[in-house]
């Protein structure tokens, strides 16, 4: 094998490793890392207690 071919192979390996590195970092940066928390606990609490309605009920006979 000529030296030029060796150089092309080494450049290809280098570029492949760089691409792999970029893809790996992108994957890590976009994937959620915390998976142990129960998703039920993360739901926002939407409970409203309408005191006005209770007042209205109180006024009823």
């Amino acid at each position: 094998m000529k030296q030029k071919e060796f150089l092309i192979i080494s450049i290809t390996i280098f570029l492949t490793i760089i691409a792999w590195l970029i893809a790996d970092i992108y994957h890590i940066a976009t994937t959620e890392q915390i998976k142990l928390i129960n998703p039920k606990v993360l739901k926002p609490v939407n409970i409203n207690i309408e005191a006005e309605t209770l007042k209205l009920l109180e006024e009823k006979k």
Binding site: F14, L21, D24, I34, I37, P44, I49
Partner: protein, 193 residues
């Protein structure tokens, strides 16, 4: 001797030197990237992402805790009024109370109940806890318009929530005036949990 001389001559050629340096540079860089830079960057980005996720979760927790504290405060304020909820929408059908309520108002207004029927209550069927269950009452009465109007008003003012789903007012056969002895058909809905 000639062979060694030839190798030495070959290696000292400028072109060969350049290629060797370039190949070695790429091979060493690849090795270094793979075993040193990649793990370090992976850990750094992973930690950054974890920190971001934890901050987001923390914000949700904080919001939920504040909301719960607010709800607790409101519940404490209305604790002595919670019986009202039991009266308006009871946990059990309590059909007797519902019918009694209607009968009481009817007798107070001098309305004659000709027919009163209840929809069947399925006590076995499981419904979602958050859903209200219905109790349908079909009623047929004979009354004057003013009494019927007052009856409807009083029914809707009672603590136990009732809604009138259907209302039909027909003119009675033996009525002397337009408003006297109207035949009224009603579908009243009561609720329970």
């Amino acid at each position: 001797m000639d062979r060694q001389l030839l190798i030495k001559k070959f290696l000292t050629r400028k072109e060969v030197k350049d290629y060797t340096y370039a190949i070695l540079f790429f091979v060493i860089s690849s090795f270094f990237t793979l075993f040193a830079i990649k793990p370090a960057l992976s850990i750094a980005f992973s930690l950054r992402r974890q920190a971001f996720d934890l901050e987001r979760i923390n914000a949700i927790y904080e919001k939920n805790i504040l909301k719960l504290v607010d709800i607790q405060f409101k519940i404490e304020n209305i604790r002595d009024k919670t019986y009202l909820l039991e009266q308006t929408v009871p946990k059990k059908p309590e059909t007797k109370t519902l019918v009694d309520n209607i009968k009481q108002v009817a007798s107070a207004e001098g309305i004659l109940i000709n027919n009163l029927s209840l929809s069947s209550v399925d006590l076995k069927k499981e419904v979602e806890e958050t859903k209200l269950r219905l109790l349908l009452i079909n009623m047929e009465t004979t009354a004057e318009f003013a009494a019927a109007h007052s009856f409807i008003e009083k029914i809707t003012q009672q603590k136990r929530i009732k809604t009138i789903k259907n209302l039909k007012i027909l003119k009675g056969e033996n009525s002397s005036t337009d408003s006297a002895h109207l035949k009224i058909m009603m579908e009243i809905e009561g609720y329970y949990l």
